[in-house]
Structures are given as structure tokens and as C-alpha cells.
């Protein structure tokens, strides 16, 4: 599993949505949407963070929750949309 230090996406999810909670078992395949860790308002915050952090135009970011179901999904999307960043 990645550590927080070299995994800014995981670090963001933990600080923004799991502040003060034990996040040790936040694995790459944990379903963030189904578990409601990220709800529809949270999704908008997440997308805007991705857009700013990785300089991806918001219009290029899909709005459907399925694209952000897990840490692996988010990392995969960012890797495709901004290959230099990851």
C-alpha cells in the first residue's frame, strides 16, 4: 500500500473526508462512493481539487461518480489526463 508521503490523492481524501478517523484500512479498492465517504457535495470538492492540483480543465473531468469510486480509479484517471503529474 502507498504511504501518505508519496500519495497526495490518498492524503487529500484522508484529510478532507476522514479527518480525525483511523484510515489505515483505506485500501486502493475501498469504495468511496458506496460507503458515502464521498457524497455528491464531496464529489464536487474532489473534482475541483483534482482540476486545480493537476491542472486538468474541469470540462475534461467526467462528473459521474463511477469515475471516482476508489483511490485506484482516481489515480488512473489523473494518470491518463495528466501523465506528467503522477
Amino acid at each position: 500500500m502507498s504511504t501518505v508521503a508519496n500519495d497526495p490523492i490518498r492524503a487529500y481524501i484522508v484529510s478532507e473526508f476522514l479527518a480525525g478517523e483511523d484510515a489505515e484500512d483505506l485500501t486502493d479498492d475501498f469504495d468511496l462512493i458506496e460507503s458515502t465517504v464521498v457524497n455528491s457535495l464531496g464529489l464536487v470538492r474532489l473534482i475541483s481539487w483534482i482540476s486545480e492540483t493537476y491542472s486538468i480543465p474541469v470540462d475534461d473531468i467526467p462528473l459521474e461518480p463511477a469515475a471516482y469510486r476508489t483511490l485506484a480509479d482516481i489515480r488512473g484517471f489523473v494518470g491518463r489526463a495528466a501523465p506528467a503529474a503522477v
Binding site: L18, E21, D25, D31, S35, T36, S40, L41, L63
Partner: protein, 494 residues
């Protein structure tokens, strides 16, 4: 309104103004003629499905012109439609369908038409439930029981027509109205912002359920469609007012669902400079019961819930020395209402004895026990003080924190759980759970969230979880001291 009168009005609009826009959805304009065509496609599928004469049909409320058309088609055939949230789990959905005595479900197909299916359900699930009577009601709504299966609330056709009459006059709805439909189609709010507007020949702008938290999307949708009527929970008004957006075309703003903050009010005044503002108060069982007009230059905050709507009778019940009695004059008590718009009762007969009672002053009118604790001042204005039970509103949805506690407490690794409602800048109210884990187990807060998400509707899943190893603080009577837990959370003393 789901009533023959709505259908007649719709037919008239199709003949007289076929090219007017009835619905806007996903950038697509659907004229009254288009909607009529979709309605005929749905009707053909209802006829051709080979299920014979249908009296009740479950139509999950996927928000689309095709679903609107499917509902119109079903009503035209005299079918009572049960319209549950499309987000319900399949198990809950099939239980609901069985309870409503309707083994048939229909899902609208993009482009028009419907696919019907017959559910294999356990017929004993309908024991104790009345069958919906299409002669009396064409629409059965659900109210959010915060856990498990929602309650079934048939809406009487004549009650609907009365609501339409009232709302049309109160909010100035006519053929030039363009309403933003923000809430899901299964919410009672759709009675105003979808069905009353269509009956008046106006335009309904259907906001995509998936983008409901997106301020930019809602702003574009509202501005580009020159929306004139906006109804919704404070969250909607806050999203619209973000980034100092302005809506010069909005004529009517209706707050509903939960209390609006003073900042939220001021932002809405600024965002809609040409609008009249109203706060409505009600529930699915009675529809709107109180209304308060808000003057931006002279309002009080917290807002009163207002005065009873014409035809509504309100009573406050208090505990007196000789048991329950009716409060005369100013004071605080449990609100009971009788409205011209109310249901004839839940389909589940056993629920009605607790929820409805005859006028406590005598007389035959049935009153609904709201469970709301309400204060009446010397001027006869009513203010909401809270609940007589453990109900809170999360994103406009009634949620019982005690029931959420019960679900969390059922996890095998949980010793005890307490759930409190905390103020939230985005959603108004959010739930926090404080949970004591059994010694030696590996239950994590993520594990508990995943468990909660499986057993609760989304709005009822706590948005934060604190795991403790020591017992929860207790009151003198040995119950979890929820006030103390709440204070600890509010003071950031985690």
C-alpha cells in the same frame, strides 16, 4: 397534479400550444407535443405488455421526460403509481412493491416507451396493507423512514386538486412559469415544481440528480432557462447564490424542508433581486400546512413557520395535570394539523392509529401528529422548536437518529452507538456517530461506514464516525448523553 384535471389541462396545452416547452432535460427541450408523443409511446407499452387490466404500478423515479410521460400515461389509464426513489436497494424496492399490492414495475426507456416487469414477491408482505384505490388516488408517495422500507402515503386526487388551486394562486403559477425541479421526482416537492407547473402550461427544468451538488451546473441551468420559480431546501438556495450569482428572472423563491440560516436568507435576497420569498412548512402526509411570506426589508430570524394555510387547522398538544390537553393561547406543544391536502392515511393500517387522531377538541376531522415541537406566540405566529422524538432533517430528508443508532448497534463488533446531528456549512445538518467497539475486534471507522452504507439510505449514513474504547458518557437515567457528545464535537474537543 396527478388527477383527471391535470390530464385534461395537459391535453388542452398539447392542442393549444404544442410548440411550447414543457420540459428541459440534459440540454434538450421537450415541447408539449413531444411530451404527448412520449406519453402515447408509454401508453402503448402499458397496453401491449399483456398483463391485462392494471390497477397499481411501481415506477421508480428516474428523473427524465420519459418517466414524466410514463406517469402521465399510467394516470390516463386510471392506474395508481407508486413512485419510489430509484436509489432504493432492490430488496427494499421489492418489499415496497409487494406492500402496495402491485406486482408490476415499469421503467421508462430513453427515447420513449416503457419496460414492464412482474416481481415475484411474497404475497404475505401485503398483509395489513390497504390496496391503493385508483378511484381515490393516482399517486402513492413514500416518506423516508430513515431505515429499512419507507412508508407508503397515497395522495388523494381531490386533495391534489385543492393543493394545485392554492399553490397556483399563492405562487402566481401560469403558462409563463419556468420552474427549477431540483428535488427528486419521488419527493412531495414535485407536486408543486413539476405537476402544478405542467397543469398550468408552464415549463419544468429538470435538474440532473447526479449533478445536484454542483453550483456551476445549477447556475447555468437556472440562468440559461430563465427560471422564474425556485423551490427547495436551503442547500439549493445556497448553491444558487454561490459566487455572487444573480437571477433577475426569478419571481418566486420558496424555502422548504429545513430552517434557513440568516446568511442564507440574505444571500438569496441578493441573488434574486426581483423575487418574492416564502417559507413553507409541511410533510408528505399533509403536504404544506404553514406558509410565511418573507419581506427582505422586514423579516425576523429565526423565521416563523408562519400561519396555517387557508383551510388548515392547527392544534398544540401539551401534557397537563390530567394528561394530554389542548393548549389555548401562547405556549409550546406538539403540533397537530389537519390540511385540505392531506392523505387518507398510510397504506399500512397499523401505523395510522399512532399518526392520526380525531380533532382533540371534538369533531370528526382527522389530525396528523407531526411530532414537531412548536411555539405559538401572542400574535398567533408559530415557530418550530424541534422534535418530540429523535427526528432531524439531513439534506431535507427526515431522519431518525435513534433508528440510525439501532442499525449501527446491530453490528456484531459494536457495544454501543450514539448518533447526533451537527450543523454543517454545506448540507445544513450532518450526522456524527460515536461508537464503542468490542474489545479485541478490528472494527475500523471505514468498516463501520461501509456497513452503515449497506443498511441505511445514503442520507442516514453518518458523515463522520468516532471510535471509542471507553463507554459513552451517560445521563442520570443511564442513556447515552447525546448532548454531551454533541458539545464535545461542536467544541472541536475530539
Amino acid at each position: 397534479m396527478p388527477s383527471p384535471r391535470l390530464l385534461q389541462a395537459f391535453t388542452r396545452h398539447v392542442q393549444e400550444k404544442p410548440d411550447s416547452t414543457a420540459l428541459v432535460f440534459a440540454g434538450r427541450r421537450v415541447t408539449y407535443a413531444d411530451l404527448d408523443r412520449l406519453t402515447h409511446l408509454a401508453a402503448a407499452d402499458l397496453d401491449g405488455a399483456g398483463f391485462g387490466s392494471v390497477r397499481a404500478l411501481c415506477v421508480p423515479a428516474h428523473k427524465s421526460p420519459e418517466t414524466v410521460a410514463l406517469l402521465l400515461a399510467a394516470w390516463r389509464q386510471g392506474i395508481n403509481t407508486l413512485v419510489p426513489s430509484p436509489g432504493l436497494g432492490t430488496a427494499a424496492l421489492s418489499t415496497l412493491t409487494a406492500q402496495a399490492h402491485g406486482p408490476l414495475s415499469a421503467v421508462a426507456v430513453p427515447g420513449g416507451g416503457a419496460v414492464l416487469s412482474r416481481e415475484e414477491t411474497d404475497p404475505t408482505l401485503a398483509d395489513g396493507f390497504s390496496a391503493p384505490d385508483p378511484e381515490e388516488s393516482l399517486l402513492t408517495l413514500t416518506t423516508s423512514g430513515s431505515t429499512g422500507v419507507p412508508k407508503l402515503v397515497p395522495v388523494r386526487t381531490e386533495a391534489f386538486d385543492r393543493f394545485g388551486d392554492w399553490a397556483t394562486e399563492k405562487f402566481g403559477i401560469d403558462g409563463t412559469t419556468s420552474s427549477l425541479s431540483f428535488s427528486p421526482l419521488n419527493f412531495d416537492l414535485a407536486l408543486l415544481d413539476v405537476w402544478t407547473v405542467l397543469e398550468a402550461g408552464g415549463t419544468v427544468v429538470l435538474a440532473d440528480a447526479g449533478a445536484s451538488g454542483d453550483a456551476g451546473y445549477l447556475r447555468d441551468l437556472t440562468q440559461s432557462n430563465e427560471v422564474t420559480l425556485v423551490q427547495g431546501v436551503p442547500l439549493l438556495h445556497r448553491l444558487l447564490a454561490a459566487d455572487d450569482a444573480r437571477y433577475p428572472t426569478v419571481r418566486t423563491v420558496v424555502f422548504t424542508g429545513e430552517a434557513v440560516s440568516e446568511q442564507g436568507l440574505r444571500d438569496a435576497f441578493a441573488a434574486c433581486p426581483a423575487a418574492r420569498f416564502h417559507n413553507v412548512f409541511g410533510c408528505t402526509e399533509t403536504n404544506d400546512s404553514f406558509v410565511q411570506d418573507i419581506d427582505p426589508d422586514a423579516y425576523v430570524h429565526p423565521l416563523p413557520i408562519g400561519a396555517p394555510i387557508d383551510g388548515t387547522d392547527a392544534v398544540l398538544l401539551i401534557e397537563g395535570p390530567d394528561g394530554t390537553e389542548v393548549l389555548r393561547g401562547p405556549g409550546t406543544g406538539e403540533l397537530l394539523v389537519h390540511t385540505p391536502f392531506q392523505t387518507c392515511g398510510y397504506l399500512e393500517q397499523a401505523r395510522n392509529a399512532h399518526a392520526f387522531m380525531p380533532d382533540p377538541r371534538g369533531g370528526g376531522a382527522m389530525f396528523y401528529r407531526t411530532g414537531d415541537l412548536v411555539h405559538r406566540d401572542a400574535d398567533g405566529r408559530y415557530f418550530l422548536q424541534g422534535r418530540t422524538d429523535f427526528q432531524v432533517k439531513v439534506r431535507g430528508v427526515r431522519t431518525n437518529t435513534l433508528e440510525v443508532e439501532t442499525v449501527l448497534g446491530a453490528h456484531p463488533d459494536v457495544v454501543e452507538a450514539a448518533v447526533v446531528a451537527l450543523p454543517c456549512p454545506e448540507a445544513g445538518t450532518r450526522l456524527h456517530a460515536e461508537v464503542v467497539r468490542r474489545d479485541g475486534t478490528s472494527l475500523s471507522s471505514l468498516g463501520l461506514r461501509a456497513y452503515a452504507a449497506k443498511h441505511l439510505p445514503r442520507h442516514a449514513v453518518p458523515s463522520s464516525v468516532g471510535l471509542a474504547c471507553t463507554p459513552l458518557p451517560k445521563t442520570a437515567t443511564g442513556k447515552p448523553d447525546r448532548n454531551s457528545i454533541k458539545k464535545t464535537q461542536l467544541n472541536g474537543d475530539v
